[in-house]
Amino acid sequence: MAMDPMILLYALIGVTLGTAVGVLPGIGPALTVALLLPVTYGLDPAGSLIMFAGIYYGGMYGGSTTSILLNTPGESASIVTALEGNKMARAGRGGPALATAAIGSFVAGLIATLALAFLAPHIVKLALIFGPREYFALMVLAFVTVSAAFGDSAIKGLTSLFVGLFLALVGIDQLTGQARLAFGVPEMLDGVEVTTLAVALFAIGEALFVAGQGAMGADKIEAVKGSVWMTRADWARSWKPWLRGTAIGFPIGAMPAGGAEIGTLLSYAAEKRLAKNPEEFGHGAIEGVAGPEAANNASAAGTLVPLLTLGLPTSATAAILLAGFQQFGLQPGPLLFVTSPQLVWGLIASLLIANVMLLVLNLPMIRLWVKLLTIPKPWLYAGILTFATLGTIGMNPSPVELAMLLVFGLMGFAMRLYGYPIAPVVVGLILGPMAESQLRRALSISQGDWTTLVSTPVSAGILFAAALALVVPMILRLRGRGEVLSRLAADED
């Protein structure tokens, strides 16, 4: 199936779009997939899902370009790349920085996708013995790691998460059919659409935030001077960080540990410690680009492991991808490997092909992508908002839906202003109802006995891990006050 020309076309569209949105500041892969959901409603499910996954991979490639040339990361997983990458570009070594990012992404994407293919059947076998209580425990773990384990404040993360869970309550309860928090408005009986929330928080919130910053100074784009090819010394310094970045990024993406940025931070720290010439860090060390860029692609592939095998999204983009599966009536999880094996394996095979496409798109054609950065911000954000609302209008052209878009957009703006993370809201909205039904199913089986949740070693262990993930970072913050983040901030000028 992966070699079908139509499927290849979908993959090509996906990786091209993904690279473009990765390059453009202000829109990321989560938003792009959310925008495309209504448009792809009538299209081929396999092709659409491959396109979405291509967007996810492409976003990880494209994000590095903006980080290196503009010092403004296109998406959060590329923040670390900006540290060394932009210094290299200022020193006239932008070409090799882009090359090590692209080739590192390719190496990592390839290894991690293969690891996904080898790992998935084993996890599926394991997951088949999971009951409702194990799934509920896994979801609690995902809630905690997405909201409270990282970032600078557990209270802010938990606030975002519970706002998401509150929004998830709106609508008809799946188990009893009772309406909750709908206040008799018919549009609200269907609940809050994931796409509406994601588009509002990501696109409208971001546009308002950028507008609120005031005067639009033109950003300084570093030109790509000379060759984009790496020297022999660059290769020698890059290959180990690529492999280490992959080894760090993949497990972090695969565990419910919340997004690709964590892996990039750890990889950067590891490269800095292992480097033969650590004094170069902060002045454009190629290892500091190669490692984190490999790590973010490896964690993108890693995120697909819990998503495909357990139906568990661990990042905002994964949550939107899950909504994409559900739109086509597919529920990711162990059963999907049994009921539609050709779809799952076609998707994984297409990712390998998408990776090759991305390498071609990102190395020889890099100057073309840089042109995207010259679009003036007023046109860029006006265009983003027009397309952002287009998706919602196409799905449901009602003033109530657009009003929700505006309200959530203002909420996203306020959350950005005051430093509340966005992803936990989206994950709470999509995972909330799933966790609720698993919990109520587990309690039904045990006839209302809550100790059932800790009555097997697996579920007790996962819940214990969730408790650790909540408490340990809180203690660390009280002692060291987010040491890793402050060290990174100190490295920037």
Binding site: V163, A382, A403, G409, R440
Partner: protein, 162 residues
């Protein structure tokens, strides 16, 4: 970039208390809904009202945590925002929301584009025609070719027929 947003005096704790109030409001709403629903828990002992109660209690606790942070002076530093561009964009979204049904996609979305770009610094005499042309093109591609159903107004009916 984040550092630029900080340090504009004023009443730095005001926002923290406002957020605490909003969280308490949402929490009260969820708690009210949780207790108002007739209990159909069945064997589970937890029905539709169960999760609203949990979420409501958690939101109340988070509201309390915000009040505590505000009283201890750990709250949000007031960020600096230039209100004019933000209001332009909100006006654009409101205009689209109100005009979509009566005037159709092209005019409503064209206006959103025009007001957003104008708010970010381009002159309206430039952004308005460009927005209308773009929105009309989007209607043509998505409604006519990709079969996405977009609301038609008099312009769309005039060009593409009813």
């Amino acid at each position: 970039m984040i550092r630029d947003l900080r340090g504009t005096g004023g009443r730095p704790q005001g926002a923290t208390f406002l957020i605490a109030g909003l969280l308490a409001g949402l929490g009260a709403l969820a708690l009210w809904q949780g207790f108002a629903l007739p209990d159909k828990g069945g064997y589970a002992g937890m029905g539709s009202g169960g999760l609203p109660k949990v979420v409501g209690a958690a939101l109340m606790a988070l509201s309390g945590a915000h009040v505590w942070a505000g009283l201890r002076g750990l709250g949000q530093p007031a960020p600096r925002v230039s209100p004019a561009p933000v209001l332009w964009i909100v006006a654009g979204l409101l205009a689209q929301l109100l005009l979509l049904k009566p005037l159709g996609f092209t005019l409503a979305s064209g206006l959103l584009f025009a007001l957003t770009a104008a708010g970010l610094g381009k002159p309206l005499r430039l952004t308005l025609p460009l927005g209308l042309v773009l929105a009309f093109a989007i209607y043509g591609v998505f409604d006519q070719i990709l079969q996405l159903h977009l609301p038609a107004g008099w312009i769309e009916t005039l060009v593409f027929g009813g």
